[in-house]
Each structure stands twice: as C-alpha cells, then as structure tokens.
Amino acid sequence: MTESAAILSIVLPAASAMLGLLMGRDWARDWAVLGSLGALVAAIAELVLVGTDGPVTAFGFLGRAQLGGTTIDLALRSDQLSAAVAVLVALVAFCVQIYSTAYLAGEGTPDAPTRYPAYAATVSLFTAAMMLVVHSADLVLLLIGWEVMGLASYLLVGHHSERASARAAAAKAFLVTRVGDIGVVLAVVVLIAGAGTTSISDLNRAATENEIGHGTVLTAGLLLLAGVVGKSAQFPLHIWLPDAMEGPTPVSALIHAATMVAAGVFLMARLLPLYLTVPGALQTGAVLASISMVGAALAALAQTDLKRLLAYSTISQVAYMLGAVCVASDRELGSGDPTALAAPGVLHLLSHGAFKALLFLAAGCIVHIVGSTALADMGGLWRTHRSLAVLFGIGLLGLAGIPPFGGFWSKEAVLSAADEAAHAGTWVGWTVLVAGVLTIVLTGLYAGRAWAIVAMGRDPVLPAVGDAETEEPHENPHGHSQVPVAMMLPLYLLAIPTVAFGLVLLTPFDLLHGVEIQPGTAITGALLALSGVGWAVSAPRLGTPDIAVALPVRARALLENAFYFDAVIRALVVRPVLGLARTVQMLERDVVDAYVRAVRPTTEIAGTVLRRTQTGLATGYAVWVLVGAVVLTVAGMVLV
C-alpha cells in the first residue's frame, strides 16, 4: 500500500505531463490539475500509511543496474521524511496548478504567448521529478530526478523566452546550478568507486560503521554540499535565484520558494548520518548558511521589487534550514536515530514551503492587480482588496515568525538547535545562533516593510474599488481590479497550514521528535521579530512607507544590489574569462550556447595551437608518429 502510494505520487504527475502535452490545449488544464490532485491524494495516503504501517526502506522501481562489481538498485523508499515533504510538494503543486489556470489563461498576445499546455506539462514534470528525489532510495535515481528538476526549472524560468531578460535568467540559473550539479555527479562517481554503493541507507550505515574510507566520505560530502549549495541557492552560488524571478510567479512559488530550493536541505537531511562522520563538511555548510542567512536578509531589506525581495528572503530562510541541519554534529544524539537531528531543519522546510508559497501566490495576485512587480507601484492594498491583504499579511507573519503563525515554531526550533550546539561550546553553533538571531530582526524588518509598502503605503494606484469589483476599465492599463477566483482559492488553502502549523507540534509524528523549542529562545525570538516588524510598520511616520529610505543612500544601493556580489562574480570570474563583450553576447544567447562560449575562450588558445599541427602534410603527420614512438620508447625504458 505504502509503496503504491509513493509510486503513484511520482507516476501521476509524470503521466499528466505526458497526457497534457499529447492531448492538446483543450485538455491540458484538466490533466494538470488532476495530476497534481492525484499526487496530493497519494502523498497524503502515503503519510497516513507510513504513520500506521511504519517506513518501507527500499522497494523496486526501475530495476537494478550492474556497474562492474557494484549493483545499483534503482529503488524507492518511503518514510515520514519523504512522505511529509511529498505532501508539501503535492499541496503546493496542486495550488499552483489551480492558480496557473487563471494566471496563464487564454492565448496571450502574439508577442507574448502564454503557452499554457507546455507550461502546465513542465510543472507536472517538475512535480514528478521532485517526488522522485524525495522518494529515491539510491543516489543515482536521486540524481536523475535532480537533473530533471534542474531542466524543468530552466525551462520554466525561460518560459517567456521572447524576453531577453528571461533567457538570460534561464541561462544564469542553468550555468550556476550546473556548477553545483557537477559536484553531485562527481560525488556519485566517488561513492561508487570508494564505497561500492550508492544506496542511501547503505551509505549512511557504512559511513556510521566506518566501513568507508574517511577521505571518500569527506570528498563525497563536500561534493554533494556543492550540489546542495547550488540547488538551494546558498552563498556563493545564490546569484541565480533572484534573477530566476523572471519566470511566471506561480513557478517562483513552486520551484524557487517551496520545493526545489529546499531539495538541497532534504538531501542533507537524508544523508545526515553520513555527514555526521565528517563534521568538516557540516561546518563548511554552516558557515555558508550563516553568510547566506544574514546577507540575503540584508539584501531583501532594500529590494525595490516585490518578487526579488521574496527571492532574497527565500535564500535567507533556506539558509535557516541548512544551518539547522549543519549544527547537528554538535548536538546530542538522543533517541539513536541520527535523522532526528535534522528535524528542526525539516520542520522549517515544511512551514516555509507553506508560507512562502502563500506569499508568492499572493504577490502574483498583487502583480496581477498592479501590473508591475516594482514596490514603488504598489500601495494601499488594505483599502482596495482587503481579503487579499489579509492573506498576504498572514504569509508575512509566518515569514517574520510572529507567534502563533507557522514560521514562529519552526524558526524557534532551528534557533533552539543552534543554541544547544552553541552551549556544547562549538564555534559552529555560535555562528549559526548569532546569524539566526540577527536574521530574525532583519526578517521582521523586511516583512514589516513589505506590509507597510504594499498594504498601507501611499494612495493606491487604483481607484478604491474594494472587494466589490467593478467591471469598468480602470486607469492602469496593465492591471486588473479583479482577482479571479481560481487565483484566490489556493491562497485560502495555503493560509490554513500557515496559521495552523503549530498544531502539528501538539501531536508530533516520529519524524519531528527531535524538535525541541526552548521557551527562553522562543520568547526572545518572538520579541525580536515583533520589534523588527514594529520598526518597519511604524515607518510611515517617517513620511514614507519604506523604512529602507532611512538607510544612507550608499548603504541602500549596496544592499539593493546584494553587496554587488553579482558584479564581483562577474569581475572575478566571468570577465577575465569571457571579456566584457562576450559576457553581453553570452547573456543574449541560448543557454547551451552560453555554456559552450564559457568554455571556449579558456580553451581557444590550446585548440588553436593544436589545430596548427594539422598542416595537411601527410609526412608531417608521420613525424608525430615516429617522434611519439621515440618518446614512448625512451619513457618506457626509463620506467623499467
């Protein structure tokens, strides 16, 4: 039963992707929604079944592959971790599919076609891939899902391929995540060679029992960490995520907020027993997470674009999860199951998925109304669309971690974990704790700022129509005064877990047994968050809804451009390699072409020199043969 539910949760979206593409426009919508609904039902069933029947560690899926002496069993597993994440993925995917039917309704214009069938199929494909990642019992199978996710993300970021900025963003996302993905591929190779297995449970067990060489584990751990950092948009590979906001907003909600970016954390949690044997890898992760956490929160504070603000906030929040997992090595192993140490991170993954998806979808509605993503164009939502404003506010409260909303519980769990590690006396715990506390204030500030600008703010752009919509054309040519029902429904759906997430902790299932919230930390955190929000919301007294205005101009520019890290990357990496002209060219070209161009200049000289030897003179080639033979012979004689 559990097995069937898990397999269905993968197969249904995959099938709906295929059917949606094959059967054409008329059916695309039905298949997409049905597929994600099926996945949601299957995932919930799985969660219930796992709770009653216990986990299933491995069951066949794609057979097995023989690799020399290594058998790679392409099997799935189902336990509370996978089931819980699967429910989140399916829920958000379901909401996004419903939302998208309205968001991308119609044919669009010839200049900007909506391409709904392809879009919906890709989202379904992504859902299937994420489900595969979540359920994989083997790293190779996981890698397949991982790559398909990357592909779907690339396609969706570049969905509006008629826009140069979308193409460039897709290219950037592809290139940057690829850097990390190479790490995952290499890690798999290292593990096959060094450990002889890629089965996750075998790896965890073998690493814990010291059956694998420490060097192998460390190498593989660091390589996998590179993949995690890339996929989860952590420093220094975070630069693709803000640009990825070029994609349609529902996609941002699904892939670039709730699920895919959290997949890295999921992978770390899965392999935590292995990572616990190499604290060095975890410490590296903790440092990167701390930098990402504070840096991204600071950057979010000064963003002038709502979606980019949310993107930076995602980086910051995912860093919380990663930090929570990375302090695990300094915490006491309680009940014996090391996976429990990852519980705070997973908890935050789940709550973040709900409230961030809510925020993005709400942002999509706001954009729909205003016709722009710039914060400067927004304002007065409270007066014009009160219910939407309330939903948006719930999301922000969750984000800021105000009790009793979702984010509060999970964030305090993370901080408590860091606190425990810090009191164990390690610098890693302290780093994460300090960064986390700092970030709480910052999160409160930017959440409050978003509220102040969007919901309060200056006079609304639109005439005050309230929720009583008018059919009249309004003065903003791009916007709409009315939000379709299909776009509002998912918001209500997502608001439920955001509001009621704390209830989960009343009856925690086994997975979350490792979660402890220390009252002291919790109260401090809540107060800090509240003060942050309070500061920001009181900003209108300064004469502007935007608290960021209070910052010095230079600092604001610095933060808005995220410490110019993009520029630093460009100056340090891209420019020397490509030259400025080539950079421009690269951004204009297709993704793959960009990759080719990226390798090309570095190899151009070598290639040219080698080509020079192709003189076309046949006896010239014989020179190589004969001289090669001489060198070979001399070398051979030296070697013996």
Partner: protein, 523 residues
C-alpha cells in the same frame, strides 16, 4: 655442455572451422562477391551476400558465446627430440613442455575474442547498411570486397595469439580500409588515403621493429610464450630489448586507435573519406586497434606492465584533452566527429592505464575498455547514421557544417531525437545513461588504482566535451527560417538509425551489459 635438441613437425595443424567462423565467413563472402561480380553482377545479390557473410560471422560469434567452451586452433604440432651425442632420436625430457620449446596456438576463442568480434561485426553491419546507397555505391563489388576483408582482418585480430597473425590481421584490417577511402577516386579521397597510408606504413614499420625486438628478446612469436618468458624474471638485457620492442609495437598500433600523437591522420582522412567509410574507420577500425592493443599488452606483455601502463595513462590524458580542445572549435560535422573520436579514444584506453600486473587486474581493465568501446560504437553509429542522412539532403553534402542541423527537430523529430540521445550518450550526460555508465566503468579501475591525476583529467574532459555535444544538440532545437525538405529515408538507413537508437536505449536500460562484459576474458 650444451645439449642440442631438434624438433620435428608432424604435419598440418587441425583447423577448427567453427572456431574460425567469424573470420572465415567474411572471407567466403568476399570470394562469392568476386565470383558473382565476374559472372553476373546483380546488385541486390552482392548486397545480400555481403550482409549474409557478416550475419553468418555474427551467428558464429553468438554460437561460440553460447557454447561457452574455449577453443584453440591453428596450433603448431610436433615432437621435439634430443640428439645430443646419441645415435638416434630420444624422447623429449619430461621437464620440457611443448610450449617451452616454442610450440603454441595462433588463434584462441575466448571471451576477449568474442567480445571484440561482436563489437566489430555490429559496427560492420551498420557501416555496410549505411554505405549501400551512399557514395561509392557504383563500386559495389570493390566496396563490399574491401569491407569484408577489413572485417575478416579485424575478427582475426581479436583471436590472434601470435605476433605474425596479429601483424597480418592488423594489416588486413588496415589496407583494405585505405582502399575504401580511395574509392572516392577524387583528389580529396586520394589525399585522405595517402595521409592514412603514410601513417599506416610508418606505424607498420614501428610495429615490425617492435616485433623484431620482442622476438629477439624472447625467441618466440607466440604471445603466451612471450608472457611466460618475461614473467620468469629474465636478464636485464632481455628486459631492455623487450621494453623497447613493446613500446615500438604500442606506437605502431596507436594510430589505429587514434591516440595522440599518432592521431594526426584522423581529421584529414575523415574529412576526405566517404562518410560511411569514416564511420567504418571510427568504429570497426578503432575496435580492431583496441583489440590489438588488448591482445598485445594484456596477453603478451602483462609482465612489462610497469613500463606501458603509466604511458598509456599519459597517452589517454593527452588524447582526450587534445581531442576535446580541438573539437570545441570545429564547425564541419565530420571534422567534429573526427576530433570527438580522438577524444573518445582516450577514454577507450583509459582503463588500461590502471591494469595491475595480476591477471585479474588486467582482465578488469580490458573488460572496462571493451565495455566503453561497445557503448562508443553503438552511439557513434547512431550519430553517423544521422550525419549520413543530413549529408544526403543538405546542399553542402558531406562537408556540411553544424548549421545544417539548425532547427532539425522541427522537420525530422525522430532523427533529431536519436541524434540528441546518441550525443548525450557520447557526452555521458544523464539521459544517455549508457554513456554515463560507460564513463563510470572506464573510470572505475583508474579510481581503484588511485591514479587521481588521471581521474581528474578525465573528469575535466567530461565537462569539456559537454560543450560541443551540447552545442550540437542545442542547434537541433534552435529556430530557423530555412525550410528544409523532408527526408527520404532509405530502408537500410532506417534500419541503422533504428537499430543504433534501440542499442543506445537498450544499453541505457541494461547498462549492466557494459559493466558486466567478459566474466573471464583474458586468454
């Protein structure tokens, strides 16, 4: 006091026709083709006989593989008698076995033999089908004869266990291929043929010098005997001569696999040869070269492993790096393929660099090499099939650049999908699981032997190669204003395309085949 021993030969060796079927069948077909041509050259009949010859050979391989027994044939037989100071011949002392006094077998059916032959035959059938309607179809008789001779040489090579058979078989696999190139009978064909010919002759000279030195050192041409002598801790002088011989011989075989620096003929010859012949060079010919190297190094010279293994590693690193670097800058499809085949050659020999001195170590390395070769040949055939089709329908013909593929996915989705998948296999990118597994298989011995620098170079080359394979794939999906005509797919080409695609998919699903080749191969 030296004792003189004289041997007497006792007759013609027994020839096991079944064991030699993979060699005999192409030869018989060759003779039939010539006969039919002399009597009444009916084109379909010529094609049929040639195909039947190759299929019979393949059937022979399959039968021998199923039978599973090891057969040796063409063994020299005789008695050896001592005559020292005695009036009449006396029987051989007990301490000497026939192999000690120089007897041996020229041909052995082992897993190595059968795997090599299977790869060669699969590739040859593909190349034949591609060539049926292509350029040179006018010279059907000559083409089929030369192709069959090449195949006979290549299959004999896989079973050859003495240096004379090895040399003759290697030449039989090389010379007719040069003739095939020249069949274009124009300036470019002639030049391509001359280029390969001169490289081949220089290499033959090196190979023969090497064989001369090996023979001087060990006194035998039988590989098993050479291996025994070298393994029995010989004199320093013997060792020096043998190493020099081994290196000369290796250099003499290197051109066949397109190893840097023996690769220089490759791009020019591919560009000047008819495309199906280029396909033959990159599959059949390369397979022959690898089996020759595996037989020579793995069976004859495992004792000199210390000398050749590190050098193979250096050659492999150089080969894949140089091939990839230049391939990045190629525009013409067939030249890109030529350089990519150079790069792949590095991968093919990579595992040999990690073969240990033990029998098992060598076995694993050779098995990995052949596994990679299998994957490469299947994917290569698929790519060549599409390139042949494009060449037939594009105005630039065989010299078409990659631009000819722009937007191909719109007009020819099936062929494009096959090409994209095969390229992914060559690159080792996830959908092409076959290629990924093959790369892992090839890297495995290297990692096991902890040759980290080599493994790193190989890994970097994966990234390097991605660039041009992806560039090609991306062009398929790009938009184009040019309306390209629909293709007319001929049945033979359809079979190759479908067969190679099925092979790629099949080996991707059953990737174990690549990794699990040859349970016990090295004899």
């Amino acid at each position: 006091m030296l004792t003189d021993i004289t041997g007497t030969l006792t007759g013609v060796p027994r020839i096991d026709a079944v064991a030699l079927l993979p060699v005999i069948a192409p030869v018989v077909a060759l003779l039939l083709v010539l006969l039919i041509d002399a009597v009444r050259p009916v084109k379909p009949l010529l094609n049929l006989v040639t195909l039947a010859g190759l299929l019979t050979a393949a059937g022979g391989v399959a039968y021998l593989a199923l039978e599973g027994t090891e057969r040796s044939t063409a063994c020299s037989i005789g008695v050896v008698v001592g005559t020292a100071g005695l009036s009449g011949p006396s029987p051989l002392p007990e301490s000497l076995s026939p192999s000690d006094v120089g007897f041996g077998c020229s041909y052995l059916v082992s897993d190595l033999t059968l795997t090599g032959q299977a790869i060669v035959l699969v590739a040859a059938i593909g190349c034949l089908l591609l060539a049926l309607d292509g350029p040179g179809a006018e010279d059907r008789t000559a083409h089929h004869t030369l192709l069959l001779a090449t195949v006979a040489g290549a299959t004999a090579l896989a079973g050859a266990r003495d240096l004379a058979t090895l040399t003759v078989a290697l030449e039989t696999a090389t010379l007719p291929a040069i003739g095939l190139i020249a069949l274009r009978r124009d300036a470019q064909g002639a030049q391509a043929a001359v280029t390969l010919l001169l490289t081949a002759i220089a290499s033959l000279g090196l190979l023969l010098l090497g064989i001369g030195l090996l023979f001087l050192a060990t006194g035998s041409l039988y590989l098993s005997r050479i291996a025994d002598v070298l393994a029995s801790d010989p004199d320093e002088k013997v060792l020096v001569v043998a190493v020099a011989g081994a290196m000369f011989a290796l250099a003499g075989i290197g051109f066949k696999i397109s190893l840097v620096p023996f690769h220089q003929w490759t791009p020019d010859t591919y560009a000047g040869a008819p495309l199906p012949v280029a396909a033959l060079l990159s599959t059949v010919s390369k397979a022959a070269g690898l089996t020759a190297a595996a037989v020579l190094l793995g069976i004859g010279l495992p004792a000199l492993h210390d000398a050749w293994a590190p050098l193979i590693g250096v050659l492999a690193a150089l080969t894949m790096t140089a091939g990839n670097l230049v391939a990045l800058r190629q525009q013409v499809a067939v030249r890109l393929l030529a350089w990519s085949t150079v790069a792949q050659a590095g991968w093919v020999v990579l595992p040999l660099a990690a073969s240990g001195t033990t029998r098992d170590g060598v076995r694993e390395a050779v098995a990995a090499s052949l596994g990679y070769l299998l994957a490469y040949v299947v994917a290569g055939l698929a790519v060549f099939a599409v390139v042949v089709l494009v060449a037939r329908h594009h105005r630039a013909g065989e010299e078409h650049t990659l631009e000819a593929y722009r937007g191909l996915a719109r007009t020819e989705p099936v062929a494009s999908a096959v090409l994209a998948f095969a390229l992914a296999c060559l690159a080792g990118l996830p959908p092409g699981v076959m290629g990924l597994i093959a790369k892992v298989v090839a890297l495995r011995p290297v990692v096991d032997a902890q040759l980290w620098p080599l493994a790193v170079v190989a890994a970097l080359n994966v990234a390097l190669a991605l660039a041009y394979y992806l560039r090609w794939t991306a062009l398929l999906l790009a938009t184009t204003d040019q309306a390209t005509p629909r293709w007319r797919l001929r049945p033979a080409e359809g079979i190759v395309l479908g067969g190679a695609a099925a092979g790629c998919v099949g080996l991707s699903i059953g990737a174990g085949t690549i990794a699990g080749l040859l349970p016990d191969l090295l004899r």
